[in-house]
């Protein structure tokens, strides 16, 4: 491993984050300054990137590698941020830098005087940073960090017009399905640890024969890991059956829709497949599955694109169609073609989305001169029936959205709504008692009580899941929901502590993150309660209209609580997982569900209190459907 990256390049990966921090502190109305910092950040980064490309080409190496920092290192757990630089990262970042810088210039004019000008450029930089982390990630942990940040920036940009109902609703919808992908990725990474018993970086993955041998020795485990990666990739790249989030994500300004959902964000799933290809490409069945997903998607999505009568959803589905084909190319091992296809699709869809408002005058003109009344082709009744069936199915987007809701979210809502007793004082007392017992057990930890410990581990993780499920369905006071969420995290921490000997330091990292964020959040909620009176979660309140600062701090607290990278909780989550063994199916399941729903639940609280149409009607307010 002698091909290291030059130092200046490491620096330039971090520059977008620096830029993001700077823009956070700039005044909202100073558009010139905000834009100036953003574009210089991107330019500086690109400079470093180009220099590194030169260095890489001269070095004649296939890839460059660098470990930036070990965030945690102990015999049982290590977490490091690594970078990796090869053809795939170069193509992804070239396309990204190109499109983001152009869209940034475009947006300077386009977003002029928008009250969210600052938010837009903030988020754009954070998005750029996350793309950097993902594209140059040298190990799975780093990808995960970038992946999480990318998800949150999506949430913020879809919900950019936060005073309307639909953007907020759809932002929650998209982040929910994203979260499922995130946890699949986390599980995949966790299983990888157990497969290799060490943290593997991509350089090793691409080059080490021993690692590959391990894969063959544990084919079924490797298969599960591959499936988890495929789910993650399919979600991010809107493949069937997860495709319906993409058209619904087109809520922000046209420019952000163009780079996020027309091009960059939506191709990140493909990136994950390319990056993990050394892992799975020798498992034929996995190749077949990826190809099958791609083929099904491209066939179905092209039918749906065919019937779209709105310009942005049409572009969304045509983009999905092409990404389906890219999946096939990846499955066939045609890496270079897939990369070219990605670039072409990203450019074309970005352009089409950016000019999408022109479609009205262009096509009406076209119609004015070239209109031919549609001739109903004489069809045999059987064929016509099939055509009609396909038509209706495509209009309904093949019911994917409904099915997703019915399978993924409705059961939890149903379960949650039956758990109302959990907020009862008696239940509260019982839970506290149980928790005390658990703490005692951790305290007297000795080898004799193994079976009791395991039983309690499961009970606590199950309770943690129940609590979070309840918080997901609760419509009452936000403060009790917040406490439910916090409690569920405490139960998860307790259950893991009982599962295995854990260093106190590890659990402390997790708990400081949780408790700190929880306190801050609770403080915000009490303040809001004092100002506004009603903070029940049965509708959207839109309190950000009057409480901008409070909303910002509550968002920070929320991100801390859900384990957003940059908060200690994030490290903690990964760490906690390392103490679960792959054989522990139920523990894994309860904990994963807990981690999926905590983010959805927390962001739901944030969205319902601060976003959506303002409940006070002394000023102009959007209709729900607008």
């Amino acid at each position: 491993m002698n091909a290291l990256m030059p130092k200046y390049f490491i620096l330039s990966i971090l520059i977008p984050f620096l830029g993001f921090l700077i823009t956070l502190f700039l005044p909202r109305k100073n558009e010139k300054l905000l834009y100036g910092v953003t574009i210089s950040t991107i330019a500086l980064h690109t400079l470093g990137f180009f220099a590194c490309i030169g260095y890489w080409l001269m070095s004649n190496e296939k890839a460059l590698y660098h470990q930036l920092v070990q965030l945690y290192n102990s015999p049982t757990f290590e977490f490091s941020i690594d970078f990796y630089f090869d053809k795939i990262s170069v193509v992804y970042m070239l396309v990204s830098s190109f499109l983001i810088s152009l869209v940034c210039i475009f947006s300077k004019y386009y977003l002029h005087r928008d009250p969210g000008f600052k938010r837009f450029f903030n988020t754009l930089l954070l998005f750029y940073f996350s793309l950097n982390l993902v594209s140059f990630s040298g190990n799975f942990e780093t990808i995960l960090v970038g992946w999480e940040i990318l998800g949150i920036t999506s949430f913020l940009l879809i919900g950019f017009y936060r005073d309307r109902f639909l953007p907020v609703k759809n932002a929650l919808k998209v982040i929910s399905i994203y979260r499922l992908g995130d946890i699949c990725l986390l599980l995949g990474i966790w299983l990888c640890h157990h497969l290799w018993h060490e943290n593997v970086n991509f350089y090793q993955l691409a080059n080490s024969a021993e690692l590959k041998a391990e894969i063959y020795d544990h084919v079924s485990l490797a298969f599960i890991i591959s499936i988890l990666f495929i789910i993650t990739a399919s979600i991010k790249s809107a493949q069937v059956p997860f495709s319906s989030w993409l058209p619904r994500a087109m809520e922000g300004p046209t420019t952000s829709s163009a780079i996020f959902y027309g091009s960059l964000s939506v191709h990140i799933g493909v990136f994950l497949l390319l990056r993990t290809a050394p892992f799975w490409h020798n498992l034929p069945i996995v190749n077949v599955i990826i190809g099958a997903i791609g083929l099904t998607t491209s066939l179905i999505a092209s039918r749906i694109a065919n019937v779209q009568s709105t310009v942005k959803t049409q572009i969304a589905y045509s983009s999905i169609t092409q990404i389906g084909i890219i999946f096939i190319e990846v499955a066939l091992g045609l890496e270079t073609i897939a990369l070219i296809h990605f670039a072409g699709n990203a450019f074309l869809r970005t352009y089409q989305l950016l000019v999408s408002p022109s479609v009205l005058s262009y096509l009406v003109h076209e119609q004015f001169f070239n209109y031919e009344p549609t001739q109903q082709k004489p069809l045999s009744s059987g064929w016509k029936k099939i055509q009609n069936t396909l038509y209706i199915l495509s209009i309904k987007e093949w019911n994917f959205d409904t099915i997703q809701g019915a399978i993924l979210w409705m059961p939890m809502k149903w379960l949650g709504s039956r758990l109302s007793f959990l907020t009862h004082p008696v239940a509260f007392g019982a839970l506290t008692l149980l928790y005390a017992i658990g703490l005692y057990l951790v305290g007297v930890n000795n080898a004799e009580n193994q079976s009791i410990h395991h039983a309690f581990t499961l009970i606590y993780s199950f309770l943690g899941m129940l609590l979070i499920t309840r918080s997901f369905a609760e419509r009452g006071d936000a403060r009790s929901v917040w406490l439910l969420i916090t409690a569920s995290q405490l139960f998860i921490a307790l259950s893991i502590s009982l599962n295995e000997q854990i260093e106190l330091g590890q659990i402390m990292i997790f708990l400081t993150g949780i408790l700190g964020s929880s306190m801050l959040g609770l403080y915000c909620l009490f303040r809001l309660k004092k100002y506004e009176g009603n903070i029940d979660l049965n509708s959207f309140h839109g309190h950000i209209y009057e409480n901008r600062r409070l909303g910002f701090f509550f968002l920070l607290a929320s991100l801390g609580l859900v384990g957003f990278p940059l908060s200690p909780t994030f490290l903690g989550i990964d760490m906690l997982f390392s103490h679960i063994h792959p054989q522990q199916f139920w523990l894994t399941l309860f904990t994963s569900i807990g981690f999926i729903f905590i983010e959805i639940s927390v962001l739901r609280v944030y969205a319902r209190l601060f976003l959506g149409p303002h409940i006070k009607t002394y000023h102009e307010i959007a209709y729900r459907t607008s």
Binding site: Y110, Y161, T313, F347, T350, F369, S626
Partner: protein, 844 residues
Amino acid sequence: MKHSNLTHNKLEAILHDLHHYLPSQTPLKDFIHHNSLHAFQDMKFYEGIFKAAKIFGYQVTLQLNDYRELYKIGRIKETILDRTIIEKKGKENRLPWKNKLINEAYNENNDFRIGYLRANWKKYYQIDLDTLVHPLLFRIICSYLDQGISIQAFPGHPDGFLASVKELEINSFSSFFKTKRAKQLLLSGDHSIESLLKIIVGKEDYFEQYLFDQQFSHRGWSGIVATIERMPHTLLDTKPITLEDWITLELLMEIDALDNKFTEWKPLTHFVQEPPVDMLDDVENTELQEVFKIWQDAFEWSYYDEALAGIQALNNKPENQDKKNSFQAVFCIDERECSLRRHIESVEPDCETYGTPGFFGVEFFFKPEDAKFYEKLCPAPVTPKYLIIESDVKEKRKHELLYANHSHTLIGGYLYTFVLGFWAAVRLIENIFRPKMSPAISNAFAHMQKDSTLTIENKSPNDIENGLQIGFTITEMADRVEGVLRTIGLTQNFAPMVYMVAHGSSSANNPHHGAHDCGACSGRPGSVNARVLSFMANHEKVRLVLKDRGIDIPVTTQFVGGLHDTASDEIDFYDVNVLSYDNYALHLENIQHFDMALNYNAKERSRRFASIDTFKNLTDVREAIRIRSVSLFEPRPELGHGTNSLCIIGRRSLTKGLFLDRRAFMNSYDYTSDPEGNLLAAVLRPIGPVCGGINLEYYFSRVDNYKLGAGTKLPHNVMGLIGVANSSDGDLRPGLPLQMIEVHDPIRLLVIVEHYPDVVLKTIQSQADMYEWYNNEWVHILAVHPDDKQFYFFRNGKFELYRTFLKGVDYLNNLEDVLEISKEMETNYIVDATKENLPVYIIK
């Protein structure tokens, strides 16, 4: 039977009401400005808007705090405020009311009627019916009405919307419905609205409230359906549809959603305790409403008073009498031409300018070469009997590959991404760094080809196409030329050159581009009209007829049509080859004047644009303005009718030299040639619907951009080529987008007529619908007495003397100084935004 008939009649009435109250904006390709609250126009302005607010939850004035802030910064003047209070509340109540206005806390929350009944679905059934029904319902209607976005069209049935859905349901293995009952109801034909409402709502007394709630939960889609039902030909690819069909399908889908969730359910009114609410019931008068009335009046008069003081001061100056006409130019009354006229007069002091509605009195359909349809080129309410056909087009329209449908298909898309994907990247760079005109941009000059041939003269009575006479006969031409010349008062002292300057607007990436074109030409550029009228006025035989009628146009005088692009500030002229040698030489000189005036005009406009440095030299600023009009990234290619607030009907001398900051429509009219006011009626007739419509649409889109406007443009998604919506599942958004109304101060239009008050009164009273605009105070009108130059304001059925508070306005030596130092608004909040609008000045 009798009972059922009664319900049916009642339902007819409800449908009729819905048609009346739903938004009536047509598909965006024809943008016709109109009063957003036209349904309330039979009431007094304030009564009407407060009623609308109570029913539909609209914000209909600025917020109380906005007015207070405007008062603090002096935009609402204290003297005017005091007088308004005294007028409305009496002298003795001035102080207590002033205290209320400035200090008292009111509960401003609006507890409106709409949506109240249907909220009970959530309350009693824990079901969010809208979220379950709307997305698919909107998709179906958008696909059905779609004019050309989708590659595979909705399999239509000639009998209309519901018949098409039915046919599709019969011949398919899949269904829009999840459950059986709704589908069976549709297929059985037993789906009268009454019977469906009985299932869903139950008690008949609630039907009206339920349908209002339901239809106004997506007023955009319902509005377009109702509009298309009334005007099927507003779509080129016509789609038969009725509001009844649309409501029926929605009710069926609601039944479907309820059946899907509950095995058994009772109608809504089974649980509802509150008695039904009469939607259209009168609204009680509140003190807060009185407060708003006073503030709004004071806000309006703070501006009117200043403008009137300016007119008064100007008319006290001795008039310059030497008449030496180098040329005459007739523009549209559009307030965007107000500045261009001022600049031309200052560049070439010997010229004269006029204003008249931009269709120049010639009403016809226009058929461009190879077109499959006709375009109407006259005000929207007029139905022309004439057709003008274009031929000999030399330059064919180019195509834009990146818009092609193939890019969205499986195989085509594959090839496209590989081949054109990279070309798209190049185009993107080009569009950002070197924007230029392209087929994707709506180009005002492309509306009619410059050197094409038009069939203007009717050669034979048999020249008829689809019931329209091709061209005009000599008499018909003479009638129209005479009409225009007489109303603007140009019947003698003809200059050698008379320009008819129409206007249009080029803009990129702008679904609302029609709103920037000429309102008098049904939202299109007026180039054809300018060219047609010039041809008529140049016609020898027409001139003979005109001479008989007392208008003697010298042989040396020639008319030339032109088009001014109000976004790019470019101008072009038509048929200059017919000019005599001498006139052509003059024309070349005049072009220089026009060009210089456009430079100044561009500079004046540039002060509002952040992207342009106003200090740059004239030609650079003008070039920057032009580039703006072809820039894809520019959501404000121009600002349309923003800031419009006055309409001046009189001779140019009334306002010549007055700086009105492009806020006045200006219609030339010479009262001396029309002492009885016979022509005045014709002049005033379109002012209400056209100028009043524009003004009120801007007013309402400004005060409630969320509900009455279209919201910010930035996330807009073009739906079926008929409108815009946010998101994939959003409702259509009629009204004006935020980017068009930011600069607008929401005040009503003040029409200022130079004539005797009794003549004006007689004229506006001559037609009931015209009188309604003024009597109900949706538009104000004021007469300038020609003899003593005093103002008479129309109120409560009569004209009363009005004395301005301000005695005169400031003089300006050099307009440019003011333009360069005036700042762009800090934010688009009204208190910041209004500072961008400059005071009235007299230019020395």
